[in-house]
Structure formats: structure tokens, C-alpha cells
């Protein structure tokens, strides 16, 4: 589904992604793990078009999508969420979801003045869909709340919810569980599995919670220092020498840094 070939992203002298090559299979829930600073989020950002790669290629379904802007990728069914929730803070939860679908008639300025009937019908359908999604995510009781005022975990659900407003092919989830309590995390996990099964979404998940990864993901890819170290089931990864060293190394470094 997605192939990444020898991708590099350099910031000045710092090589955040340093020659990553990986493949994401259609219909899978792929886990992406690695110690802090391994280049996971940068890799996401490059694939999703937020950052331009220094070199390398990204292929989606045989088409070269390297460096295309995010809104174009969205049109091709590639969606993503953010490590730190990027909600539209001044808008209600329902509005946050309703704005997602592309090519709404009401987004044409002309129609806002002269196509009122069409917009009204469209809006009704969108609102219904949004409410459905909110209910699915168990946050329908706060659907009129401003997104800026809800908790961090709820924002994560909202992010996930946005991907459900359209027919996505592949969804990149960046630490969707960070700062979320266990119950909510399970809810999110359930939602991901359901979407994968029922709608056939492909997922790529960055996560530090290994239980979560273990429950959802197959395969799991481990990154360190901008490169792919290993790929396999979580157990295989856990047993990999290089992986252990990578985690241990940074663990030691962390200890030194915090001392």
C-alpha cells in the first residue's frame, strides 16, 4: 500500500530520518515504535507532506506521492492525527467533524449566498454523520462543547473521529494514547480494530504503550536514529538484540541527562 524508499530528512546537520525503507501492507495495523528521537514523527510528517524530504521516495498504490501537500494526500485517502492534538479550538466538537469532508457545496463561496437549499440538505446529512461518529467514540454528550475546552484524551478521540468522517484508505495515528487513561485507551483500541475490520482502514500507529501495540499491531516496526532496525511481531521485536541495545542506550543517556 505504502512503500518508503531510502527516505532522508535532514535539519541542518541533524539527520532526523536517515535512510528509512519500509512497506506498509494493505489492511494491516502496523505499529511504529522506537526510543524518543528515533525519527518516528518526522517520518510521519514527511510521508504526510508536512515536511519535504531531503531525498528518497514515498509510493502509495504505485503512485509517487513524495512531497505532495497534505490536502492533496487527504484527497487520496491518506489521513493522519497529531502527537499533540490539533483540534480547532474555537469550534464545537460537531463542527470539528463536520468540516472534514472535502468538496462540500457550502465551501464554495457562491453557494453560501445563492445555494442555500443545497447547503442546508448537505449540512443536515453531515451533522447526522458527525453525531453518529461522536456516539461511536462515546463523546456524544459533549458534542456542542468548544473543542478547546475538552480534556486531552477527548481531543485524541476527536482526532480519531475526524478520520471517520470520510472514507480513508490509510490513517497515521501519532501517539494516539499519550496522556489518555486506560479505559479511554481501550475504547480507542476498540475503535481502531472495528474500523480496520468493518471499513478496511489501514493503520500505522506510533505508540509507546507496548500493551496497546501488542493488542493491535501486526507487524511492528522499530526505528532508532532515523533508521528501521527491525520488523516483525512485537515478540520478535522484543527479542531483537539491536532493539534492546537501542532502548537501553537511550535509557542510559536519559539517566545521565537527568542526573
Amino acid at each position: 500500500m505504502i512503500e518508503v524508499h531510502d527516505l532522508h530528512k535532514h535539519f541542518g546537520g541533524f539527520h532526523a530520518v536517515d535512510g528509512s525503507t519500509l512497506t506498509i501492507k494493505q489492511g494491516s495495523i502496523t505499529g511504529l515504535i522506537g526510543p524518543n528521537g528515533a525519527g518516528k514523527t518526522t517520518l510521519f510528517n514527511v510521508i504526510a507532506g508536512v515536511l519535504q524530504p531531503t531525498s528518497g521516495k514515498v509510493i502509495m498504490d504505485g503512485e509517487d506521492i513524495t512531497g505532495l501537500p497534505p490536502h492533496t494526500l487527504f484527497g487520496k485517502g491518506l489521513l493522519r492525527t497529531f502527537q499533540i492534538a490539533h483540534e480547532f479550538s474555537s469550534m464545537s466538537l460537531r463542527e470539528n467533524l463536520m468540516m472534514v469532508p472535502a468538496d462540500q457545496a457550502g465551501e464554495k463561496l457562491w453557494n453560501t449566498w445563492f445555494g442555500r437549499k443545497r447547503i442546508a440538505d448537505e449540512e443536515r446529512a453531515l451533522a447526522a454523520k458527525a453525531d453518529e461518529v461522536l456516539e461511536f467514540l462515546t463523546i456524544d454528550h459533549i458534542s456542542d462543547e468548544r473543542a478547546g475546552n475538552i480534556s486531552g484524551g477527548q481531543k485524541k478521540l476527536l482526532e480519531l473521529g475526524r478520520t471517520m468522517m470520510v472514507d480513508a484508505k490509510i490513517v497515521f495515528l501519532d501517539e494516539v494514547g499519550a496522556g489518555v487513561n486506560r479505559t479511554l485507551l481501550n475504547t480507542i483500541g476498540d475503535a481502531i480494530i472495528r474500523l480496520n475490520k468493518e471499513r478496511g482502514y489501514t493503520f500505522v500507529v506510533i505508540e509507546h504503550d507496548m500493551d496497546f501495540i501488542g493488542r493491535l499491531c501486526d507487524p511492528v516496526i522499530c526505528m532508532a536514529e532515523g533508521r528501521v532496525l527491525a520488523e516483525g511481531t512485537l515478540d520478535e521485536i522484543k527479542a531483537n538484540e539491536q532493539v534492546i541495545e537501542a532502548y537501553l542506550g537511550t535509557g542510559l543517556k536519559n539517566k545521565v541527562a537527568s542526573a
Partner: protein, 434 residues
């Protein structure tokens, strides 16, 4: 609109009414008319800032382009100037445009490298001299014709009302060019870039005499249909008779009548624009814009073409400023390029938007009226205040002298204080975004 918002509008209405009773109805109506124009300007800026978060500090330039449109649309063509060199000027301009297009094409067609750079430089330099050669001679010929009273190409001789939408188009065209080049910049940089471009527009208008007489001003623009000249009213027996019926003398009645005519025209424009803006704001389009303003990165990831939308709203807001600029020049009856100063035509408009409430169309309209009222009335109020403060001091005391002499500077001071107070205690403006 909430009840509080409505009360604020009533309050501003009262301020104007009080002006009418305490000073004169002519003053009140004039404040109302300029207030209407200010409200339209604030509406345009609010569209860019409140709805899209674009920090445009080049309002002055768009207002000036509107003024230019008023001249080019409504003044009669000067045949003598046209035959002297008008077509050569046009040819020169076409050459200039052609040079730029050729350079851009070279940039796009040729492979990256030294050849491309050199070709572009060669095209630009060659084009520049060719342009100057043709253009300068034409300009000289045009400007030599009767320089004391015309010396420019004149306009199309159309009704001045046509100039209002044309002003919008001029501003939109400029906004398109600016947006294409500068919208990718960060907010502070965009601000400075627009500030600079506005200055460039003004300096072109000041110095290109063939276009609109430059600093020598074009006076005597025609009035819109439906707005007569006072003197004609005063000479019309039937009007004087009617005025007497209201208990008014001819000169008061005629001046009020003319001002009311403008008020009516301006109100129509404001209401139409406000309706359009409100409908747009409360539609999926407005929702998308707010999403972009709240979080550009997420909006981009959700499939919204942020750059294109920014360009769209930048053009729209600027076009509204252009319309207001054309209206203002129509009201003044003349185009005076030296009068375009950033303090008045850019920063004051910003005060209006922020005090009124950015993101809320009604807020910016209110801000337009309120701040314009203060801008005009702080001056006599300042004088009165200084009179009050110094009333205890003896005549000839230097401080008294100094304070009264300085009263006029209360205007800027007050604007600053009002802006800071609102930012501090009601940071989202008097009528905040809902």
C-alpha cells in the same frame, strides 16, 4: 446579536444623535457617512484578520487603489493627452509587462543553472531599458500638455457609481499579485511586506502623473447619480419652498439633503456587504475558514487547501477595502495621493477592528463607527478638557499655554489608550466572536 450587542449599537447611534443635537445635524451626518465607509473598511479587514488570521498592514494601498479607480472610471478622457502620447504610454506598459512575463517564462522553462539566471538577467535588463525608452517619451509628451490643470490621460467618463465595483476589482487585482508572492510568509513578515507594498502603491500614484496627475491631485470628481450639488438645490425654488415647510433655511436643507443622499448610498453598500459577509461566515465556508485560522496544519491535513483559501480571502477583504476607498474618494470629490498616510488609513482601521471585535462582522462595523466618531470628536473634547484642566491656572502661565497648544495631540493619545484598554479588559473586542 445579543441584547448587549444591540445596546452597544444603540449607544453609538446615541453618540451620533447627541452630536446632532449639541453640534449640528450636518456634523452628525458627516460622521455617519464616514462611519459607514469606516465600517466597510473594518469589515474587509475583519474578513482577513478575524476570519483567516491574515495580518494585512497594507490597507492604505488598497484604499488608494479604490481612489485611483474613481478617477479612471469617472473623469472624462483628455483627448489631447491621448493623442500626444497616450498610446505610447500604453505600449510602454505592455512592453514592461511582457518583459516580466518573459522573465517568468524563462524561469519556468529553462533548466536550473547559470544559463537560466543569465537569461533572466538579460531579459530583465534589456526589457527595462526598452521599457524606459518607449514609456518615458510617452509620459513626457502626455505630461507636457497643459500641466497646470490636466496633463494626464483622464478616465472613461462613466458614472462614478461604476467606480465603486471597479475600485474593488483594482484592489482585488493587486491583492492577487501580492497574495501570490507574499502570502506564504509568516504573519510578521506578511505584515511588513504589505506595509511596504502599500508604500510602493502610494509612491507610484504620487509620481506617475500621466495616470492621475500625481501629487497635483485630481479635483472635481463627478457626484453619484441621485446626489445633487448644494448650490443647484439652493437655486431651485421648489426645493427652497419645501425646505421652508420643514422650517429649514435653504443652505442647511441642501447640505443635509446631499449628505442624506450619500448616507443612503453608503448604507445600501454596507448592508449588502454585511449580508454577504454574514452568510459566508455562518456557512460551511466560514467554518472551514475558522478551522484554518485555528490550526493551519490540521486543516491542511484534513484536506483543506490553506494557501488557496488564504489567497481567496485576502483578495475578498482587499476588494472590500478598494470599494470603500472608491467611496471615500467619491465623497471627498477629489483624489489626493499625499493624503494617504499609514497612521490614518492602516493603523486606525486596525484599531477599529480590534476594538470592535475581530471575527465578528457586527463587531467590526461597530468599531468602525465608534472609532471614527472618536477620531473626529476627540479633538474638540480634548480642547474642552484642556480648558477645564487649565481653568484654574492664571493666564500667561506657560503650562496653560502649552497644554492648550498641545490639545490636538490628544487624538493619537486617545486612540492608543482606547486600544490598550480594550486589549486588556476585553481582548476579544466589544462584540466578541460568538
Amino acid at each position: 446579536m445579543t441584547r448587549r450587542d444591540a445596546l452597544l449599537f444603540v449607544f453609538v447611534g446615541l453618540l451620533i444623535l447627541v452630536t446632532g443635537f449639541a453640534q449640528s445635524w450636518n456634523s452628525a451626518l458627516y460622521i455617519l457617512n464616514m462611519g459607514l465607509i469606516s465600517a466597510i473598511l473594518a469589515l474587509g479587514v475583519n474578513l482577513q484578520w478575524g476570519l483567516a488570521g491574515l495580518f494585512n498592514v497594507g490597507i492604505m494601498g488598497f484604499v488608494a487603489l479604490g481612489g485611483l479607480a474613481a478617477v479612471i472610471t469617472s473623469m472624462p478622457a483628455n483627448a489631447e493627452e491621448w493623442s500626444a502620447g497616450g498610446f505610447q504610454v500604453l505600449a510602454g506598459l505592455l512592453l514592461g509587462a511582457g518583459t516580466i512575463i518573459a522573465a517568468i517564462m524563462a524561469y519556468q522553462r529553462l533548466p536550473k543553472g547559470r544559463t537560466r539566471g543569465l537569461t533572466m538577467v538579460a531579459i530583465l535588463i534589456g526589457g527595462f531599458f526598452l521599457f524606459r525608452y518607449v514609456f518615458d517619451a510617452g509620459v513626457e509628451a502626455v505630461e507636457a500638455v497643459n500641466p497646470a490643470s490636466t496633463g494626464y490621460l483622464g478616465g472613461l467618463g462613466l458614472p462614478v457609481l461604476v467606480a465603486w465595483p471597479v475600485g474593488g476589482l483594482f484592489a482585488a487585482g493587486a491583492a492577487w499579485i501580492i497574495g501570490k508572492t507574499a502570502l506564504g510568509l509568516r504573519s510578521d513578515y506578511l505584515a511588513i511586506a504589505t506595509l511596504g507594498i502599500a508604500e510602493i502603491i502610494i509612491s507610484v500614484m504620487k509620481n506617475e502623473e500621466w495616470l492621475s496627475r500625481g501629487v497635483k491631485n485630481v479635483v472635481g470628481l463627478p457626484r453619484p447619480t441621485g446626489v445633487p450639488y448644494e448650490i443647484d438645490l439652493q437655486n431651485s425654488a421648489s426645493f427652497v419652498e419645501k425646505a421652508a415647510g420643514f422650517g429649514l433655511d435653504a443652505s442647511t436643507a441642501s447640505t443635509l439633503y446631499v449628505k442624506l443622499g450619500y448616507s443612503l448610498l453608503f448604507t445600501v453598500v454596507l448592508v449588502v456587504l454585511l449580508w454577504l459577509a454574514q452568510k459566508a461566515l455562518n456557512s460551511p465556508w466560514g467554518r472551514m475558514m475558522r478551522a484554518i485560522r485555528d490550526n493551519e496544519v490540521a486543516a491542511e491535513a484534513m484536506g483543506k487547501d490553506v494557501t488557496a483559501r488564504h489567497l481567496q480571502i485576502f483578495i475578498l477583504g482587499s476588494a472590500i477595502c478598494g470599494i470603500a476607498g472608491a467611496m471615500m474618494t467619491t465623497l471627498d470629490g477629489q483624489l489626493t495621493p499625499t493624503s494617504y498616510q499609514p497612521l490614518r488609513y492602516t493603523f486606525l482601521i486596525w484599531v477599529m477592528v480590534i476594538v470592535g471585535g475581530s471575527g465578528n462582522n457586527f463587531g467590526s462595523v461597530l468599531g468602525g463607527f465608534l472609532i471614527w466618531f472618536l477620531w473626529v470628536q476627540v479633538e474638540p473634547m480634548g480642547l474642552a478638557l484642556m480648558g477645564l484642566i487649565t481653568s484654574g491656572m492664571s493666564d500667561g502661565y506657560w503650562l496653560k499655554d502649552h497644554l492648550i497648544e498641545s490639545a490636538a495631540h490628544m487624538r493619537l493619545l486617545t486612540m492608543g489608550v482606547v486600544l490598550l484598554l480594550v486589549l486588556r479588559f476585553s481582548p476579544r473586542g466589544l462584540i466578541p466572536e460568538r
